[in-house]
Symmetry: C2
Subunit: 344 residues, 2 copies
DNA sequence: CTGAAAGCGCTAACAT
DNA sequence: ATGTTAGCGCTTTCAG
């Protein structure tokens, strides 16, 4: 951002006007071929680069997309980011990332900074704390300002914008059915607290599957992992609860709403010398690295993060380029798929 | 970026000049308390936000930092990013991310876009392909343009800039020594190809430890994982090689230069019913999620990604704010630490 | 105390 | 074919 040569300097050096330079560099036929070439040569020699900031000011767009995610050290979100980044770059957009760290305050702050700043639109997944508070004014305000927003994965109903989600409920139902078909009927669900939209939907799917098979749900068989600051704490909470259940009840399967829960559960089972999948089968959401490298490897429900990212980016860019109307709001639903590994 | 109210509009509404508005909003004492308050009230009522693009143009700085990493779906890099993001935000900087995906071309492209664009400085870790090609012109050019660059983890010598690295060689040596002290002398090293700086240093450390203990290195006991497009391929290469070695040689320990290698090795050992750590102990670089959730969990060498990120950001911001001279170049070395788990 | 004007780098409509 | 000018939104110096 320092000494790069400007149009003005080129103009001065060559004793022409700034606009002549500008036009020449755009190869405008308004300018005589001779001067044009001379100017282009000079510019190239001096490694001229247009100042994008000035362009942004003029065009009222920055060609960059803001992404707000709850966590980045997280397999699913990093996959999505990667995919957003890829698709956006291909379409001439930069990506700027902000992490809310599951905090409402930070999310609002991020939103403000991005909205006042160098972005044309926002793609986001909502922080847990925000979901809990049910306070979405920042998102609404951003949209009111005319900045398009696309929500993915953790979305909410009462904000009007494009959304990309996964068929959470259905996928959970199907996974549960797979376990039931495998003659397992005491299925433990490890889920998040109710306000987390996706956790909630997955819980519903689980319950529906039980109902369809005339299995009475047992509230002891549902562990809702309490949010703590720091995943370490959450995990020890989960481990304690699980130990308790194991003593209390006979269970033959576990459905986890994400792979950290399932991975931690697996550790507990091993500690208790319980055979997986013989005694207890496991299926989990999030097809990440834990699932693949644990042993036995975990059967998972892939949420297809790459597709999510790409769809979200596509929706946003379509809005940005005016391909879709600002008042229409699409909801794209991506179908999960079950990846069978050793744990089921 | 659409209808937000501008100074000009406020000025018109209130029949004052733009500069009066500007000054009032900055609470300048030049302006009478009365008009000042009136203007501030009006601005607040209309939710006035300064246009950061205009500010950037004026100040010739954007208050954003560009980060280029080889991969984002990667525990270590995501930790670093997270930390950079955190520290930068605290200091009033935004972070914009670009992923080279280990490709030289993409890295150069990213660099160009960032350098012409909305950033004041760059933090980066170099792509494998770039290391292989030994072509660093893009980095040098960026620096010549007056844009400060900080390199981390995968760095190179012949570029003059700040760097943050880890004592790779020493850490590898110490880890090897730990294995040797545990009466293991047939230690298999799983490393990357030579041009990857960190892999190379770690290999050196391994060799030195052997030498110090009068163990003759055996080239059969060094697997250099070939780069392939797609980590799946790399892993099957690694698995094949490892199977071969297991048949050929008696080994009692493995040192992996990252946790993916170690995790994959662990899978192979299990498949072959080899007891870890009894028959073969494992230590690996990268203290990530694989190490923690595999079983047995892996002893790892933590590279302290949070510290790296913070240091890198601090170095850059110090340059940006003029706290340090543009011509001095610091190299910060972070000490790894060995985290003992079940595999050793 | 308030305002006019220049300028950051660029584009584009409008002269010449 | 080339140049002048206004303007994107803001800050800041200098006049009034």
């Amino acid at each position: 951002m320092i000494r790069r040569i400007t149009l003005k300097e080129i103009a001065n050096e060559l004793n022409v006007s700034i606009s002549t330079v500008s036009k020449s560099l755009k190869d405008s036929h308004e300018i005589g071929i001779e001067t044009r070439e001379k100017i282009k040569a000079f510019a190239k020699a001096h490694n001229y680069r247009p100042n994008n900031i000035a362009l942004s000011l003029k065009n009222r767009k920055t060609k960059t997309i803001g992404v707000i995610i709850p966590e980045i050290v997280h397999h699913f979100f990093s996959i999505v980011i990667n995919s957003i980044e890829k698709f956006s770059t291909e379409n001439g957009y930069n990506v700027i990332i902000a992490v809310s760290n599951e905090s409402f305050e930070k999310e609002v702050l991020n939103m403000e900074t991005l909205a006042n700043g160098h972005i044309d639109g926002i793609i986001m997944s909502i922080a847990k704390e925000t979901l809990k508070k049910q306070d979405f004014h920042h998102i609404k305000e951003t949209i009111d300002l005319g900045i398009p927003v696309v929500l993915f994965d953790r979305v909410i109903n009462d904000v009007k914008c494009d959304k990309v989600i996964v068929n959470d409920k259905q996928a959970a139902k199907e996974a549960t059915q797979v376990l039931i078909d495998d003659k397992r009927s005491n299925i433990l669900l490890i889920t998040s607290e109710d306000y987390v939209s996706v956790g909630n939907l997955r819980t519903e799917g689980y319950l529906e599957a039980l109902k369809d098979n005339d299995i009475t749900p047992d509230s002891d068989l549902i562990i809702k992992v309490k949010d703590k600051k720091g995943s370490q704490l959450e995990m020890s909470f989960l481990e304690n609860e699980l130990e308790k259940v194991l003593k209390l009840k006979k269970i033959d399967a576990i459905l986890g709403v994400n792979e950290i829960y399932a991975g931690s559960a697996l550790k507990v089972l091993k500690k208790n010398k319980i055979k997986v999948p013989n005694e207890i089968a496991i299926i989990s959401f999030t097809d990440g690295v834990i699932s693949r490298y644990s042993s036995p490897s975990l059967s998972t429900i892939s949420q297809h993060g790459e597709i999510m990212g790409e769809r979200a980016a596509k929706l946003l860019i379509n809005k940005l380029t005016g391909k879709t109307n600002n008042n229409e709001h699409k909801i794209e639903i991506i179908n999960c798929s079950l990846i069978k590994r050793e744990s089921s």
